[in-house]
């Protein structure tokens, strides 16, 4: 009798969004080379429809009982939470890409490359097996390398792509080398099994017996994911890649790729190191501190808005890293509140960052420059766009009544509660530094333009929808944070 277990796995309820998005990606790919000319305009529509369907499926199964498919993909709290954030991000990025193609010629392959990248990202957050985690990471990364260098006739885009590829390759080699040691010590690639071994049997003893190898694995994994998250000693590629890549891709790299990498880091830290590697977590707090300080300081002199946003995304990654340092001395009850802070901040950050990249792109397209001076007089011309950019920048700086403030406040409260007050204070101080460069941009927005009337800025329908959604997200999460916190609290 053959074993038919493989047919009776909960495929649909566990990996619904992944299945829907993969099918959409293949459909879009086939459509892309079978239709020609004006028909290609509809590719984004199909992709958006598939993403919306996947999002609906993810929301319907948000509170479903956690199940695993073939002990590899799982729909637990962490997976569901990050899936919803990732799919919201995808929707925004696709809208952005739609607007972008109406202004700048871009190879239509980007639609399905974005979808494949998202499939990889979803795998990263829902896999509980090292092999699947690694494959997910690489699906995301390889698609991103192509996307970053997609404007093959533009030197800066290709250069950014090469830099990202080399750094990304090093990062995956470091990560893989680290994972190989975890496998060597535990004898399994399955994180669930590894976690159970550590908590219930003497499996933890192996990690404690070889502290040097455990530390090496931890450092390698942290460095590998640190490159993807552009934490400070590993951030050198970030500004060049973001500045060279097409704007929707920059937005995607700074939100989608980072959210997925944070999900993967959370999974590995919780399952592998939280039990038996707790003496190593000071390294994460060190990284977070250095990232917050250096990220904000090098953003200060930036004039190019895309590079400024790149450095600001470095600093923001430092803020999100703060709750990770406390996972070890927290009880299981506190894990919930830490995951809440991470989830809240990542969604808030997504709305603000994609919105800011979108408006920077519209201004660059109309005025032919993306230095801060190009913003001059935007308020007189299109108060709606200027107002939206103000909301995003205030949110990124962390002003009250925006999502950014609430997100930072929760992280700050966690640090006080779990005795890492120095990190909380550092977060507060570096946010004050960040006011300087965010407010510099806002001041330019409201300055009247002295010289000749600059070119008019015309948003398309897709752009209006995108900016509207982002403003709505930033303000609603800032004024009624309970709307998203209730979901988080019910999950964790």
């Amino acid at each position: 009798m053959p074993n038919l277990d493989v047919l009776h796995q909960p495929y649909w309820s566990t990996m619904g969004p992944i299945l829907i998005l993969s099918v959409t990606a293949f459909v879009v790919m086939v459509l892309e080379f079978s239709v020609s000319g004006r028909g290609k305009r509809w590719l984004h529509g199909v992709a958006l429809f598939g993403t919306a369907a996947a999002l609906a499926d993810a929301i319907l199964h948000l509170y479903a009982k956690p199940q695993a498919v073939l002990a590899t993909l799982q729909n637990d709290i962490l997976a569901n939470l990050f899936t919803v954030i990732l799919l919201c991000t995808t929707f925004l990025v696709l809208l952005f890409a739609w607007d972008y193609t109406q202004r700048v010629p871009l190879a239509p392959e980007h639609t399905y490359l974005i979808l494949f990248a998202v499939v990889g990202a979803l795998t990263m957050v829902s896999a509980v097996d090292m092999v699947a985690l690694y494959v997910g990471l690489e699906v995301l990364s390889v698609s991103s390398y192509v996307l970053a260098g997609l404007r093959t006739r533009k030197l800066s885009s290709v250069e950014g792509g090469i830099k990202y590829l080399v750094m990304g390759g090093v990062s995956s080699a470091l990560l893989l080398y680290g994972l190989s040691f975890v496998y060597g010590l535990s004898g399994t690639t399955n994180l669930g099994e590894l976690f159970a071994n550590q908590t219930f049997t003497a499996g933890a003893a192996i990690f404690q017996q070889y502290p040097a190898i455990t530390a090496l694995a931890f450092v390698l994994i942290l460095a590998g994911l640190g490159i993807k998250l552009s934490l400070v000693p590993f951030h050198m590629w970030t500004p060049d890649t973001y500045a060279g890549a097409p704007s929707p891709v920059s937005a995607m790299l700074s939100t989608l790729a980072k959210t997925a990498a944070f999900g993967m880091l959370l999974r590995i830290v919780l399952y592998v190191f939280a039990v038996s590697g707790d003496n190593l977590f000071y390294l994460i707090s060190l990284l977070a501190a250095v990232t917050m300080v250096v990220g904000n300081l090098i953003a200060l002199p930036q004039q190019d808005m895309k590079r400024l946003l790149a450095y600001s995304s470095v600093a923001q990654a430092g803020y999100v890293l703060v709750p990770f340092t406390m996972l070890t001395n927290a009880t299981v009850v506190d894990w919930g509140s830490l995951v809440d802070s991470i989830g809240f901040y990542l969604l808030a950050y997504t709305f603000m960052t994609v919105g800011a990249f979108a408006i920077v792109h519209v201004v660059q397209d109309a005025r032919g420059s993306r230095t801060a001076d190009a913003l001059t007089g935007l308020y007189q011309q299109s108060p709606w766009l200027a107002g939206s950019l103000t909301v995003f920048l205030l949110g990124l700086a962390g002003m009250p009544l925006t999502a950014g403030f609430i997100g930072k406040f929760y992280i700050f409260a966690d640090t006080l509660h779990l005795h890492h007050a120095w990190l909380g204070v550092l977060l507060f101080l570096t946010s004050v530094v960040s006011f300087y460069y965010y407010f510099g941009l806002i001041r330019k927005l409201y300055q009247p333009s002295i010289s000749v009337q600059p070119a008019r800025v015309q948003p398309t329908a897709a752009m209006s929808a995108l900016v509207g959604l982002c403003v709505l997200g930033t303000i609603v999460l800032g004024i009624v944070p309970a709307s998203w916190l209730h979901v988080l609290a019910a999950l964790t």
Partner: protein, 108 residues
């Protein structure tokens, strides 16, 4: 850990992997030609593969997940290097060079 019939001591295999990994990392950081940088990157990935295969052999409960993992890694590395060479070709067309020092159009 039992050394179940493994002819070469595990320590030597791990040392080989570690040396390969360090050579690869050194190469990525110092080589002047982009193709050599890509080759060094491959070296790092292969060092990890050696580790995985060696570890899969010495487990007290022998299992194949390490070897399967390394098969996945080899495939993925091939995809990565293909994209790398494509980007390199695009760069060469624009700049007539494959030197790392010519990746300099971004100024700050």
């Amino acid at each position: 850990m039992a050394n179940s019939g493994f002819p070469i001591p595990i320590g030597s295999v791990l040392a080989l992997a570690a040396i390969l990994f360090c050579i690869g990392l050194f190469g990525v950081l110092t080589k002047r030609n982009l193709i050599m940088v890509l080759v060094s990157m491959e070296l790092m990935l292969n060092a990890a593969n050696i580790n995985l295969v060696a570890f899969s052999r010495i487990q007290s409960k022998p299992n194949l997940s390490g070897q399967v993992f390394s098969l996945f890694t080899i495939t993925i590395a091939a995809a990565e290097i293909a994209v790398g060479l494509a980007l390199l070709l695009a760069f060469f067309r624009l700049r007539q060079s494959s030197e790392v020092k010519d990746l300099d159009s971004h100024r700050w």
